[in-house]
């Protein structure tokens, strides 16, 4: 469970960064740094690498602040997006998973195994309810991918399930989430 950061105007901070005000970037760092480092660390799983990611992500935020468009989503979400994708790009570049495509044979329905699905106390709002409606295997696949930066192969290993099943669970799980969140 994370503490909810106190009220902070993320959009104003990004606009100030776009004007070249370093203090705004620093305020953003002071406000969100530990949450963002937490997000990066879960994905890259190495403390030094996670700090490298945060460093690069803050340069990205600085350089791209002028391109932030409030019409496309909330400023806080955008900031997390920049950090997550910086982290994902960093670990994916070090991995050699080739895209196997969606093997239709393997995508066939299978009995879903009983898995230790991740649990949490954080309030995720509507997403919480929608994730709760998914089977354990689908919920676990999605959370391991998004929060832990797992590849399909890593999720298959964690759930002791065939790769094709994991892909199918993710695909169906996301479709159900989309329907549910609206």
């Amino acid at each position: 469970m994370t503490d909810v950061p106190a009220s902070f105007d993320h959009e104003a901070a990004l606009l100030a960064c776009a004007r070249g005000e370093r203090r705004a970037l620093q305020a953003l760092y002071e406000h969100e740094g530990r949450y963002l480092l937490g997000v990066a660390l879960r994905i890259v799983r190495d403390r030094a690498l996670a700090e490298d990611v945060l460093h690069d992500a803050f340069l990205n935020l600085w350089n791209r602040a002028a391109s932030f468009d409030p019409a496309r989503g909330a400023a806080r979400g955008w900031i997390y997006t920049v950090v997550r994708h910086t982290a994902l790009n960093r670990i994916r570049a070090m991995q050699h998973e080739v895209s196997a495509g969606d093997d239709l044979e393997e995508m066939a329905d299978r009995a879903e195994p009983a898995v230790d699905a991740p649990e949490w106390q954080a309030d995720l709002g509507r997403l919480d309810e929608c994730l709760g409606q998914l089977s354990d295997a689908k919920r676990a696949s999605i959370v391991y991918a998004y929060v832990d930066g797992c590849t399909h192969g890593e999720i298959a290993e964690r759930l002791q399930a065939p790769l094709g099943s994991v892909k199918a669970w993710i695909k169906r799980g996301l479709a159900a989430l989309r329907e549910c969140i609206g």
């Binding site: 070249g20 403390r47 460093h55 994916r92 997403l127 929060v147 993710i170 989309r178």
Partner: protein
């Protein structure tokens, strides 16, 4: 919902979820720059899944990480490290100096004005660009309201190899400086202004030292070599 819409949704969802392999992630990121439909689908998934970021426990960064970030920010000279455009804008000392430099150049300006084309309908402006360190005037900017400005060197400048001079301007309330392009040292040159709003009194102009092909970020990244503000010329 048609097949290509489903495919787009699926691609966007996998990108946001993080399960795409490296090459496919890069392909998506390239497409995002130009593909509005993909961008909209990605934005939608980012918003939907964002609450999951709360599942990561906060981790306090090392004490030195902020200094490391700050050192990497693209403002390498002492001038910019004092705070970039805004510090300049707000610096009384700077404006006192540049006003002095402007007055010192008034004779030269008068000559230039007299030599200029007959005044057009739009107001004419002059800018003296001075070096931040010694306040020595380096360039004069002159407009006749004809949608162009003339950039006139006052001396011979040398530019390090693989570097270039880039010319910028920023009006009050603009989000950031706008590039007026690479300029050649020591040469009078004409710069079109047709894509910019009409010049304003006090509009800021500067020349920075950038990589040979210009700033990679679209914003000044190198040291300020010359800086000055537009002054309306009354004839």
């Amino acid at each position: 919902m048609n097949a290509s819409h489903d495919e787009l949704q699926w691609l966007a969802a996998q990108y946001v979820l993080g399960t795409l392999p490296h090459a496919e992630r890069q392909a998506v990121e390239q497409r995002l720059a130009t593909d509005g439909a993909l961008r909209a689908a990605v934005d939608e998934w980012e918003t939907k899944l964002h609450p999951l970021t709360a599942l990561a426990e906060p981790v306090q960064p090392s004490a030195s990480l902020w200094q490391r970030i700050e050192r990497s920010l693209p403002m390498p000279t002492p001038v910019r490290q004092r705070g970039g455009w805004h510090a300049w804008w707000e610096s009384v000392q700077f404006w006192r100096w540049s006003t002095g430099a402007a007055l010192a150049c008034s004779v030269l300006l008068a000559v230039l004005v007299l030599r200029a084309e007959p005044p057009a309908r739009a107001p004419a402006y002059m800018v003296v660009l001075v070096a931040p360190q010694d306040k020595a005037p380096g360039w004069v900017v002159q407009t006749g309201g004809s949608g162009r400005l003339n950039l006139i060197p006052l001396g011979v400048a040398t530019v390090p190899q693989e570097k270039a001079l880039q010319f910028w301007t920023k009006g009050a309330n603009w989000n950031g400086p706008v590039s007026l392009g690479i300029v050649k040292p020591g040469k009078t040159q004409e710069v079109p202004l047709d894509k910019l709003p009409p010049l304003q009194p006090d509009q800021l102009f500067e020349i920075t030292l950038e990589p040979g092909t210009g700033s990679p970020t679209g914003r000044p990244t190198g040291p300020i070599l010359y800086i000055g503000r537009a002054v309306k010329v009354t004839s």
